[in-house]
């Protein structure tokens, strides 16, 4: 009898499963029908992962920045054309002292999403919170331009010595250590975005872990956050510029699988995606396809302490032997452009594009003859007749492996050198670079702020990011002077000089300036793709009814 019972139970389970399957089918059909109509102001996008934290003073990654910059406004906000203008953010205007050190911001009348007014005190509190050693904010250094900031953060000064002063509820005064042309842009960066003082005091370390532990000042508010799954934004009714915001809802999924991502775009479940490498050919000829230049350069970095690459001629030989045109057309295929300089195009110089002012290129692409000669010369300078085994270090992602192999192939073909490849996990690679356990590495650098300095000061002798161990006193002097130079014209000239020296010594061999391909459905209008910072700007976006 017992046995019969079991059979019955198993049968029931089967039946249930089957009926559920059938019921599920019916449900999904009606659901997908309602999704395909785009008569509402709803935008569907994908985040590459769960935002690690929405605490503005602790966020460091692009996904967190994507969300935070849409739900919070800073003193400034980048406009549609990527410019900072008075009144584009929470400061309606500002005065800068003649020495370029003191900024006085006049705040507009704006409200937090809980109805309270946004005050200068909120900014002062947030900035000092970022600098408080107990907050342990990784990006605290983004505020080190402010007088007294670094001292407070490293325990050598107090919060009161940080030169951020609330003059009254609507006036904030900041004094900098040195003239910093990019400071206005920086005030739109996440570390500078305040929350209401009372929220910080109430939630402490739990700020930004859930939507109710945040308060909003930007175009949107977070209405729902299912961890690892989805985030829903709704229009912020209390936003000072809410008349410019047309979208009612923005849905974010968190799909990581490339094939799934593409299928969701094709099914109209997503309105725009960044096209994964393997799918570029699929969309390349579509009118929905485009790419945005990122302020990011990729280069082969040489360990200038290694027995071979301590020689500049050999470094140059390896750089010149790379065929960049083939590399971007056949290997990356993503709209990236060949790089024969360090600072990517689009980064502002004195009066326009820095790249145009400094000259487009410092050397010829794929200059095999010159490369061979330099290699010969370098080897005789070192007194060797045969190169030791040279290893190229790289990440262990599919793309990185493909890129490393392409470089390996070019060196073999153009220089006749056999290079080994070592692919390791990202953090392991960083650790090996710091310790100098490598010959050369394929690496990239994205802008921290919109200024050439972000690509150049890292190669100063004692800079923590200089894992090429490059050192040139002349270079250091130029960068140090540029950092404090209030005369923007001569500052720009110093940066151009510095880049020239860097390309002459060549601790890094530029390969390409990265672009990121994306597709957007034709009914999505005014969705912008900034060159650095967040992935999108959809404050002004809307859905055109068709």
């Amino acid at each position: 009898m017992k046995g019969h019972k079991k059979i019955v139970i198993i049968g029931l389970v089967l039946l249930m499963a089957l009926s559920a399957v059938l019921a599920g089918c019916g449900g999904s059909a009606s659901n997908s029908a309602s999704n395909s109509g785009n008569d509402k102001q709803v935008l569907n996008l994908n985040l590459i992962q769960e935002p690690p934290t929405l605490d503005p003073q602790k966020a460091t990654d692009v996904v967190s920045i994507d969300i935070l910059t849409e739900v919070l406004d800073g003193l400034t906000r980048y406009d549609k054309d990527g410019k900072i203008k008075p009144g584009s953010g929470l400061a309606k205007s500002w005065d800068i002292s003649n020495d370029g050190l003191t900024y006085t911001f006049h705040l507009r009348d704006a409200k937090w999403s809980d109805g309270n007014p946004i005050t200068a005190q909120d900014f002062e509190y947030a900035w000092k919170r970022a600098l408080d050693p107990n907050t342990a904010s990784q990006y605290a250094y983004q505020l080190f331009y402010i007088k007294g900031a670094e001292e407070y953060n490293s325990g050598k000064g107090s919060a009161d010595q940080v030169a951020v002063k609330t003059l009254d509820d609507k006036t904030l005064q900041v004094t900098l250590k040195a003239p910093t042309p990019q400071f206005l842009g920086l005030t739109s960066f996440v570390t500078y975005l305040p929350l209401e003082k009372s929220i910080y005091e109430k939630y402490g370390d739990k700020v930004g872990t859930d939507p109710d532990k945040l308060v909003y000042s930007g175009p949107f508010v977070i209405s729902q956050w299912n961890h690892e799954q989805s985030i829903t934004l709704k229009k912020n009714k209390d936003y000072w510029d809410s008349s410019s915001v047309k979208l009612q809802t923005v849905n974010f999924s968190m799909i990581k699988d490339n094939n799934t991502l593409v299928q969701n775009y094709d099914n109209n479940t997503l309105d725009s995606i960044f096209v994964p490498g393997d799918y570029i050919d699929k969309y390349k000829n579509s009118s929905e396809y485009s790419d945005k230049a990122l302020a990011t350069n990729w280069y082969v970095q040489f360990n200038t302490k290694s027995p071979v690459f301590k020689n500049a001629d050999i470094r140059k030989a390896f750089t010149l032997a790379i065929d960049r045109k083939t590399f971007v057309e056949q290997v990356t295929k993503d709209g990236s452009i060949p790089a024969e300089a360090v600072v990517p195009p689009g980064v502002p110089g004195y009066n326009g594009d820095f790249r145009k002012e400094a000259g487009e290129t410092y050397f010829k692409d794929n200059d095999v003859a010159q490369a061979k000669e330099l290699l010969k010369k370098g080897m005789s300078e070192l007194g060797i007749s045969k190169l030791p085994t040279i290893t190229l270090l790289g990440d262990d992602t599919d793309n990185a492996k493909k890129y490393d192999q392409a470089l390996q192939q070019m060196w073999k073909q153009n220089l006749g050198v056999n290079v080994q490849i070592q692919n390791v996990a990202f953090k392991v690679r960083l650790d090996m670079m710091d310790k100098g356990n490598y010959d050369m590495v394929f690496a990239g650098w994205g802008a921290d702020y919109n200024d050439p300095l972000t690509f150049l000061d890292m190669w100063e002798t004692n800079n923590g990011n200089n894992s090429a161990f490059y050192s040139n006193p002349e270079y250091d002097k130029l960068i140090d002077e540029a950092k404090v130079n209030g005369d923007l014209k001569s500052r720009n000239d110093q940066l151009i000089q510095a880049e020239k020296i860097l390309m002459n010594d060549m601790p890094i061999g530029p390969v390409y300036f990265q672009a990121r391909p994306f597709v957007v459905k034709p009914y999505v209008k005014d969705l912008y793709f900034p060159t650095f910072g967040s992935d999108w700007e959809f404050k002004w976006a809307y859905i055109q009814n068709n």
């Binding site: 198993i10 599920g24 107990n134 250094y141 961890h227």
Partner: protein, 309 residues
Amino acid sequence: MVNYSLKRFVYMLITLWVIVTLTFFLMHMIPGDPFTSEKKVPEQIRQNMLAKYHLDKPLIVQYGYYLNNLIHGDLGISLKYLNRTVDDIIKQSAPASFQLGIQSIILGVVFGLLFGIIAALKRGGGWDYFSMFLAIIGISVPNFIIATLLQLLLASKLKWLPVSGWGSFKYTILPSIALSFSTLSIISRMMRTSMLDVIGQDYIKTAKAKGLSQFQIIWKHMVRNAIMPVVTVLGPLIAGIVTGTFVIEQIFSIPGLGKFFVQSIYDEDYSMILGTTIFYSVILVVMMFLVDIAYGLIDPRVRLAKGGK
């Protein structure tokens, strides 16, 4: 039985302690640390961060902290998802993995047993070849291929089911099926083999001679005896599946625990590595214990042997 359970429980704790200790020291040998980042931060900021999460202390002290917290049921704060506790993350992610795992196990076991039994009874017939064909596919084709094919056919082309996501039951169907394939094939092959073993036994002839019905012979005498090896593999199989699977969860974009097992190692998120390892180990050890109890229920001889000790 109580004595036996108690002994098993103590062994379980020792096993867990060994796993925690090994994992703790091994993971600290990975080059870098949770705060290794491409953009170097000033040394003082690094020190502030290390101090906040006690990573500035000697390793053995950190180990002490960890064990102490663990005894109090605290798995610590994730070093990637700053401010979120590992307990929270596991609590939020495990249910999805668990539901998916259970559904796929039910599918796999029910159909696996069914196919195995029928294949053995109709040995050499069409059913036998069909189930063998299915088993070969299940074992040799990785489940992400099956998943992608199902997704393409049933979701993208026919639009019967959603491509990806999580929420209502319909989202669970494709991933459950994709995930059940390997279980199904393992179980059907095992069941077939052990059924064939049993079919040749004398007591089956006796049962037939007694005039028992076909159904009673199969259910009471064959299946019950043949199912032991299947029950043995079921323990680790269930533990492996209900704690989440990286690939299937990624393909169907399911907010489960699977990715944390893999990603936490890349992120060097120490507390998350330990948290997921402990979670998996506990489930595994508990499953093995349940399997032991199940032996006793299915096979009275096991019960007697234990009682005799």
